[in-house]
Point group: C2
Chain length 166, copies 2
């Protein structure tokens, strides 16, 4: 069976017991989470969030890019969130390469010029979390009244470390 | 209790029964999903995915921005994914405003110039899904050999509609 067939069968089972049709669009906990796309970081489970509780924004690294700022503006301005979390994690793929290396691989193996892409690879995990919180704090588009927390998820034991308090 | 305290208590319970320390970084199903940040779209549950199965990329709208292309490059090039899904959903907040309206609100209510921000508000849902698939298909950075599917999640009944086949 193809992956898409398998997923659609799983979805039919999900829909058969679906009981969330009355949920409103604004997140119940007025929370937005920015996290890494990593397959091991199941954000809702890690935080005990239920469907409907929070906006979940994810990308490679859990990095505060312009696109994340765009999403956060829509989140607080149109859908009423009032608190933000940034989650990075141990053993992240983003710490295994440099932007220059990946740019060179793209040129060599695919013949495309990726030299303008900032991949946001990083070295020190804790510093990276702190830098992402700072990017939100320094954005003119995000009110200072919104608390921003920085956390590290440990893929080794499932624990969250609260490294930047709002 | 504050939200962050509540989430950290939930995480302690998650960690106490944590059994996923042996998962590898590359997604088991070699799949990457791009979906909306909406609180009602719990991607893993909707698709029957388990922790470790897939990269999950989410932003406002489930829009293929430059940041999503960045994440997808890292996903297939460094972590071996071989199939992509785009998921938009009914009753999306992105269909309730225009970019110009939000730019004007940001200027009026926060005194900031957001006129350079492309918020990616949209009108027709199905057309938006098709446009996101096309953006991936036309990117020089994503190989044509990677199948890209477009789906609509119906928040009314939990069903996925497969609107663009790879």
């Amino acid at each position: 069976m193809s992956i898409i067939q398998e997923l659609l069968i799983s979805n039919a089972a999900y829909a058969a017991s679906f009981d969330r049709s009355q949920l409103a669009s604004p997140p119940a906990k007025r929370l937005a989470v920015v996290a890494c796309m990593d397959a091991r970081v199941t954000v809702e489970e890690i935080l005990g969030l239920r469907t409907g509780d929070a906006h979940i924004i994810r990308n490679a690294g859990g990095v505060v890019t312009d696109d994340v700022i765009r999403s956060l503006i829509i989140s607080y301005k149109l859908l009423g969130t009032r608190e933000f979390l940034i989650i990075n994690h141990t053993n992240c793929g983003m710490a295994t390469f440099t932007d220059e290396e990946l740019q060179q691989r793209m040129a060599k193996e695919h013949g495309v010029d990726a030299s303008q892409i900032h991949f946001h690879a990083f070295g020190d995990l804790r510093e990276n979390v702190e830098a992402q919180v700072q990017k939100i704090r320094q954005s003119p588009f995000i009110p200072q009244a919104i608390p921003v927390h920085g956390l590290i998820f440990r893929v080794e034991d499932g624990r969250l470390e609260h490294v930047v308090s709002a």
